[in-house]
Structure formats: C-alpha cells, structure tokens
C-alpha cells in the first residue's frame, strides 16, 4: 500500500491561495492520486484526481511532479466555507478502495 504523509493542520486567511502537499514516496506505477474534503458532521466529498502533471477543475488544481512522489492540492482564493479536513489517497484500479487508506488528513482552518 502506498503510504501518504500530509501536514496535520494549516491556517490561511480568506482570499489567499492554499497549497496542501502530500508525500507518497512509494507510489506504484498504476496508482492514481485522489483528494477528498470533509466538513464536520458530513461524509468526505471528492475534489480532484490525477495521475501526472496538472489537473484543474472548478474547485481546485492538482500538481503532480514527474517523479510522482508527492502531489499538491491548490485551492484558489479560499473562503471560510473551505474550512475542512483534506485527505490525500493513493491507489490503483486493480486494488479498489479496499487497498486505499484515508490517513489523518490535513485540517485547514480559514481565518477571516
């Protein structure tokens, strides 16, 4: 299983760009990198997924360097409503979610 390491917590002011980096040194060739967001008292919500280089959607961008040993979730101009826990997951289609662990996540606190 590819182990992931993220900062436990981060603070940011409203309007700033936030970058959360996840380390996954033993990522396998077929592994994808997926990020989820969890608000208090809710289940996690899918944000973005990528395999290499850069992926962007309406919510965030995901930057993956060539060696794929880390990835960075970028949230542009955060607001108070972005306060949540962000999880980085690494896994391959062949293993399914049985082979994926959510880890401790990064608790992002957005400050007014």
């Amino acid at each position: 299983l590819a182990k992931t390491t993220q900062p436990i917590s981060m603070d940011s002011y409203e309007g700033q760009e936030v970058n959360i980096t996840c380390s996954h040194n033993n990522i396998a060739t077929n592994d994808y990198i997926t990020w989820y967001q969890q608000f208090p008292s809710q289940g996690p919500r899918f944000i973005i997924q990528g395999y290499k280089t850069k992926v962007t959607n309406e919510v965030a961008s995901l930057f993956i360097p060539a060696d794929r040993k880390s990835s960075t979730l970028s949230l542009p101009r955060v607001s108070l409503s972005d306060t949540a826990v962000y999880y980085c997951l690494v896994g391959a289609d062949s293993g399914g979610y049985q082979k994926v662990t959510f880890g401790t996540g990064t608790k992002l606190q957005v400050i007014p």
Binding site: A92, G96, Y97
Partner: protein
C-alpha cells in the same frame, strides 16, 4: 435529492444490544461500502459490495454483517454491541470498484454505545 442517504443519523444504545443502520443510494452505482470513523478521525473501510460479491476487511469482527437486498441498498447489522463500536459509520457508493470512480458518501450515523 440526497444521493446517498443513511438512517438513523444518531443511534444511542446499550452494550449487548443488536442494531441496524440502513443505507440507500439513488445514483445507480454498482458498488457500495461501509466505513468507520473513530474518535481520532481515522476513516477505515469495513466492507465493499459489488454485484453480489462481498469483500470484507479482515479486521472487522464478525459481529458486523452487511446485507444488500439490491444494489441500491447496503444495510449494516451489528450484534452484541461493545463500547469500542462507538464511532461514526459512513455509507458510500461508487460507479464501480475502480479508484477512478469517486466515492459518494452519506452524512454518517453517529453510534454511541453506553
């Protein structure tokens, strides 16, 4: 419309009792899951169920039994509840078993065993 709904939202019960949590998804997904989130916020997969095939996380006690009457429903039955079973239980679904199919979670059932 709620995509993945689970009931009840809160469940308080005594040790030794048997309880069930229900889950329904209206997304037309083929795969459903149960996750457990403990007090330290670790989220661990308990079961996945795809096209009548059940995959069980081997660390889950056999007091926990999932039941799927059809692919839109995956219920969780727990026998002889213990204090350590207190946690938030999340149901989830995905189009198929592949990682490229995002998980859709319900809002959880907070189980408290006294």
């Amino acid at each position: 419309d709620t995509a993945v709904s689970q009931t009840p939202k809160y469940l308080v019960t005594q040790m030794g009792n048997d309880k069930s949590i229900k889950c329904e998804q209206n997304l037309g997904h083929d795969t459903m899951y149960w996750y457990k989130q403990d007090s330290k916020k670790f989220l661990k997969i308990m079961f996945s169920y795809n096209n009548k095939e059940l995959i069980i996380n081997e660390t889950v006690p056999n007091r926990f039994s999932p039941k799927s009457p059809d692919k839109a429903h995956l219920n969780l039955h727990i026998n002889s509840l213990e204090l350590g079973d207190s946690a938030v239980y999340f149901c989830a679904s995905s189009q198929d078993e592949q990682i490229r199919s995002p998980l859709h979670f319900g809002n959880g059932t907070r189980l408290t065993v006294t």
